[in-house]
Symmetry: C2
Subunit: 732 residues, 2 copies
């Protein structure tokens, strides 16, 4: 569904329009819109717990709705009746008209369940529940939580909260939080687990004249409506062009990943995560009581699904503003930096380099044209320095941008320096020329579709030409770093979208599931299961006794590793359960050695077999594994093997399943990737085979029920192949 | 010298005061002040190339000086004579009064040398040279550069520039750049290699109501006055409390390090570096033509000398503001986060954790007192959440801060959230109470000396209570991240200062110097030199022939490594020049093998010896080295050895010489440090011995003349000691 029923006339409107206590007829909206869409864009609001006391939330929300110019019925409910702010008060929920879109429940926790039941009976689609005292209180809130869950089930009412600061829809001017002023309406929707972050994004937007907001919702405890459903619904709104999220963890991380990957195809998601550090997690827990996954995993799997992550709270809004308003760079292009001063250019280029955004290499034709504008002495390599050319002639910017727009290597133009403030720096008379330059740039943007990002060190002065750019959908920031972080987000999103097209269908895992026994599996069991699920675990053989070991070693025709095979031995080498480089002649004795070692354990290990693998004589030790993450479900790990590199943590993560192309990206993120390409004495390893292997593991773990963790460590990789040396599979 | 002669009356004043062309008597200041101090705080300014045309720089500077309210003589020079802006114009330099403090030379490059000579004759202390067309133009500017250097030598005039945007002294209201408004005066001095960065810091300060500026100087080409001298002079000014630098590289990096270490003891230095990336370096080179060192080295050696580095251009000014105005946390304390909302607290704590700033653990007494203010339900663990307690009662902040100030574990209080804007968020009537809370906080700060940093998401609204804090020397930022970066800077500076006290005198290297021969030295030569310079290179022996090798191996009494010893063999193993695990019996044959291998080289290697070292049977491979960095001079490296870890770059840097304590810090920065503490199969290594070894290498390289690089790689470290396995010494 889309918005646009803004002026739709309903019988309910009468309540507001005439201030009379007539009972309006149903809106009929319950038939045409989903409950959630009615919640996010309410065309009627009941305030349950309305108050005539200006210090109370039940008054402030009514005041805010009226102040904001909300054009639909406002229906206060209070047993005392009368009027509040000239609106007739309904004595109870039952007295309300049928099928109100949303109720804001301002009553304390213990009353909420009954109110929800009453709301359900009246066909109210949803409610914002402000009360706290539920799950976030731990044991103290558990009785209230149980009653709440029960009421949700019985009533069918969808709720935001409890323990939320509320919700705003700026598009229909509905302020259910009670802010002193409604933020301007525009394309950014915000989901947050912190009420104060609502204030932060609103203030951050104010300070850069941001493009404004559609829906802003405080999720609270997410007892009913949570992230996944919200982002899907927001992405269906034409008025939402980007979703900014302040997240302190997920109740259903895997559900979010799935939803994000779908939503991301049409609507960018920007996320600031709180509770990333151990200390921060404690602070977040005391706050909303949900679970943040291990930070390293979260960062990788969210990016994998196309979510733009920002590390700094001051960058959430600027990046969301840019993603909401800018087209994306074309694939395989780079950025052109257009500047009026060397220092700013140098800083922008440094920051772009750190961010991994490539500079465009300009064509000779482009350089020639730039020189014709800037003179022969100008630096027309990228960054392009207009130097003093702009001091008296601001049109040098649109002239250069026009040239850059026709270079196919240029995917985005980042203009930085004093833009739009020459009239402040030099002479007021330049204002007119600067405004006209800004208008030319807006026209160029419309004509070319070229993404543009601006920095001006005078940004905080808000000269009017900056607003000309903004009104033309071009963002201008007072910080070079914001401009660069935003540009990076545009390039990363463009790359992500192009990847989605190329490998969408290889990833449907076979639906049949295999159960992983609890605890450690014997290695042969683990390898058999992996084989069955499509993972090539290489040459290996089970052997039941010394004789079998001997004949298996013979059949491999080269020295082998002989290891004990048992689900009770956690560290095989620590208990004498491994013999390396075992020849045919020594095979039987090696098995006997291991048998004796098992007998000498306390208590003795009596039930075990052997696993035999041919020795791999050289190569690089790698690590492939998987964990069933408590937040994000099956996650695949890849990194260097071996103790030294474990200490420096050369490892990366992806949510399973993942394509070989994504696995290749994963490999290339690690330090060991450099060695895989051939380094000093190491010959190159076939990364594609390795990527296929990782992808096969990811598909396998999707089919494993009860998985806790899988370690294939080490895998030895050399010029002739990859060889899983040891496999550990653990069920929950 | 100090400032404070602001109102000092001189004969020169008459020129400005009465606008008459009388020739004033000398100021006499040349006897009491150094030339550089006169340049940085001029009490008379000549503008050479003054102009009556408002579009010209020679007019704008005079206008700006008058606008700014400069209280000393302004002396325009132009052959045309007459008056400009009511000031009498001198026809040439010779016509000027004696001993003017500074001349601003607005004339083109080719005229500058002659003008300088004239200035010298008139006793003018220094000049700001705006012209470009010198070294930064490469070959094109080299003739001008030569003439300039010559004029500098002959005239004795000190210059800032050329190719600079100029200089401001806000304390004496001297604007030699020509800004439309003089920035407010205050404690921050700024040195920059980019004119636009002057505008950036001024605007950034404006947007946070920063504490204002003392001296702001664009260094330009640094042909005469450069960083080291400037920071020393600025640190002598009472009006300068922090120095913010935008740096694109050093002409004399070692000189800067030495100066920074001295200056840092009394005055904090904050630096933003441009040209850190390869692309950025290119941009910077085209800009000022100086040299940025390898980024990794620069980051470490600058921090070693106490320089606070910021990575983002938008953080230079906020951090400088905080360092200029805040006391430092006491050693071994942590930070207390005081907040009014979970989300902001979580984000602050996350950012502090990333920044490595410890949270204070509050005493039970503190928690009890906090509970008495905030109620039993409040979270009084750090972060302390006042939650809704502040909504109607802003004094909850000073009350909590007062409690925290008496906890010896609390080194700094970071208050974050809505501070000072409850009257915006809730009710205007709160304004008075908020202002009084801010006043209480300022009083607390004065009484306790406790460092305080504030964040408010309403910071950009600039409520008046924020200015109450600022006027009390307390910074309040609109960005959590700035507040955290600033807090980190305070803790790091406190740590650095406490380290300077503890190990100052062990570092004076022996003055005698040893010459390193050009090219590669034979390993025995290298080890002998290191031994002589106080580095314990362990057990090794030279041997001239097979017989000697045999007897040396015998005398070691265990298997040895036997290697060719020659200054022409770069990679010993690649040419069959190494035999490992050589026993007494096999020694002679091993030497013969190596001799044959040498004979088979093309051309045959005929002059060589042997070096014999006992085998080390296990341990961790480490790397200790040194390079003679083109920017920073001798720099010591430490990291993991071996190819795998080379790929993940586990290495860190320090300028030589360094104390064992600093070397221990260095070790602990690396990934391998974790293994040195004992990890899996690795037993702990004595880090102190390793640190002593690194320190001894650092002292040795300080005595090496003509050093290019030294690699001791690998060093094997195990529980019984450290063993340099291979040593490579290369002279320039």
């Amino acid at each position: 569904m889309t918005v646009g029923h803004h002026n739709e006339a309903t019988a309910l409107n009468g309540v507001l329009a005439y201030g009379e206590p007539e009972l309006p007829a149903p809106t009929g909206r319950q038939n045409e819109a989903t409950a959630l869409s009615r919640v996010l864009e309410p065309h009627s609001v009941a305030i349950i717990g309305a108050s005539a006391n200006p210090d109370k939330r039940g008054y402030q929300i009514i005041k805010a709705l009226k102040n904001a110019g909300y054009g639909y019925p406002i229906l206060p409910v209070n047993p005392k009746g009368g009027t509040i702010l000239e609106l007739p008060v309904f004595s109870d929920v039952d007295a309300l008209p049928e099928c109100v879109d949303i109720a804001v429940i301002v009553r304390p926790a213990e009353e909420v369940p009954d109110i929800l039941i009453q709301c359900g009976k009246k066909g109210i689609a949803g409610a914002v529940v402000l009360a706290h005292g539920f799950r976030e209180r731990g044991d103290k809130g558990s009785a209230a939580e149980t009653r709440l869950l029960d009421a949700l089930k019985k009533s069918g009412v969808r709720i935001i909260g409890p323990n939320t600061s509320g919700m705003l829809n700026c598009t229909v001017q509905a302020d259910l939080i009670g802010l002193p002023e409604l933020p301007p309406s525009g394309p950014i929707s915000v989901l947050t687990q912190s009420g104060n972050m609502v204030l932060s994004v609103v203030e951050d937007s104010r300070s850069i004249n941001g493009p404004g907001f559609d829906v802003i919702a405080g999720l609270g405890n997410q007892t009913d409506i949570e992230y996944g459903e919200l982002i899907e619904e927001l992405s269906r709104r034409e008025s939402t062009r980007s979703i900014a999220i302040y997240n302190e963890g997920f109740l259903d991380g895997r559900g979010f990943l799935d939803a994000a990957a779908r939503v991301g195809l049409s609507c960018p998601i920007v996320m600031l995560r709180g509770g990333r550090s151990i200390e921060g997690r404690k602070a977040a827990l005391s706050h909303t009581g949900s679970i943040a996954g291990a930070d390293e995993i979260a960062v990788k799997v969210l990016a994998q699904m196309g979510v733009t992550l920002v590390d700094r709270s001051d960058e959430l809004l600027p990046v969301a503003a840019l993603l909401a308003t800018s087209p994306l760079p074309k694939p395989k292009t780079g950025i052109a930096v257009l500047t009026d001063g060397g220092g700013h250019a140098t800083l922008a280029v440094d920051a772009l380099s750190r961010a991994g955004v490539p500079l465009a290499s300009l064509s000779e034709d482009t350089k020639t044209k730039l020189r014709s504008v800037l003179g022969d002495e100008a630096s027309v390599e990228n960054p392009i320095d207009v130097a003093s050319a702009a001091d008296a002639y601001p049109d040098v910017f649109p002239e250069c941008i026009e040239i850059l727009a026709s270079d196919p290597q240029v995917g985005l133009v980042l203009t930085n320096g004093l833009f739009g403030a020459y009239h402040i720096r030099f002479d007021e008379s330049l204002l007119k020329a600067e405004n006209s330059a800004a208008e030319r740039i807006v026209a160029l943007r419309k004509a070319s579709g070229l993404p543009m990002v601006f920095h001006s060190c005078y940004g905080n002065r808000k000269p009017e030409n900056h607003d000309i750019l903004r009104n033309g959908g071009i963002q201008i920031f007072p910080s070079i770093d914001w401009a660069v972080t935003g540009s990076k987000a545009l390039f990363e999103r463009a790359n992500w979208l192009s990847k989605q097209n190329s490998n969408a269908d290889r990833l449907a895992p076979d639906a049949r599931r295999v159960f992983v026994p609890s605890g450690l599996s014997a290695e042969t069991t683990a390898r058999e299961m992996l084989q069955k699920l499509g993972v090539d675990t290489g040459e290996w053989s089970a052997a039941s006794d010394a004789g079998a070991v001997s004949s298996v070693v013979s059949s491999f025709g080269k020295p082998c590793a002989v290891k004990v095979d048992s689900s009770v031995i956690v560290h095989k080498s620590d208990v004498g359960g491994v013999r390396l480089g075992v020849t045919r002649e020594a095979a039987s004795a090696a098995a006997d050695d291991i048998t004796r070692a098992m007998a000498s354990q306390a208590p003795p290990v009596t039930t075990f077999g052997f696993i035999v693998t041919p020795m791999v004589d050289h190569g690089l030790e790698l690590f492939v594994g998987a964990v069933n993450d408590s937040v994000f479900g099956p996650v695949v790990l890849f990194g260097s093997g071996g103790v030294l590199v474990e200490a420096v943590k050369d490892v990366t993560f992806r949510a399973a399943p993942l394509s070989p192309a994504e696995a290749l990206d994963m490999i290339n993120e690690t330090g060991v990737a450099k060695i895989l390409d051939g380094f000093r004495n190491y010959r190159p390893v076939d990364k594609r085979s390795l990527a296929e292997f990782i992808s096969s593991v990811s598909l396998a773990v999707m089919r494993m029920e009860n998985l806790s963790e899988l370690d294939i460590n080490p895998i030895i990789a050399n010029e002739s192949g990859i060889y899983p040396v040891d496999v550990r599979l653990v069920g929950k």
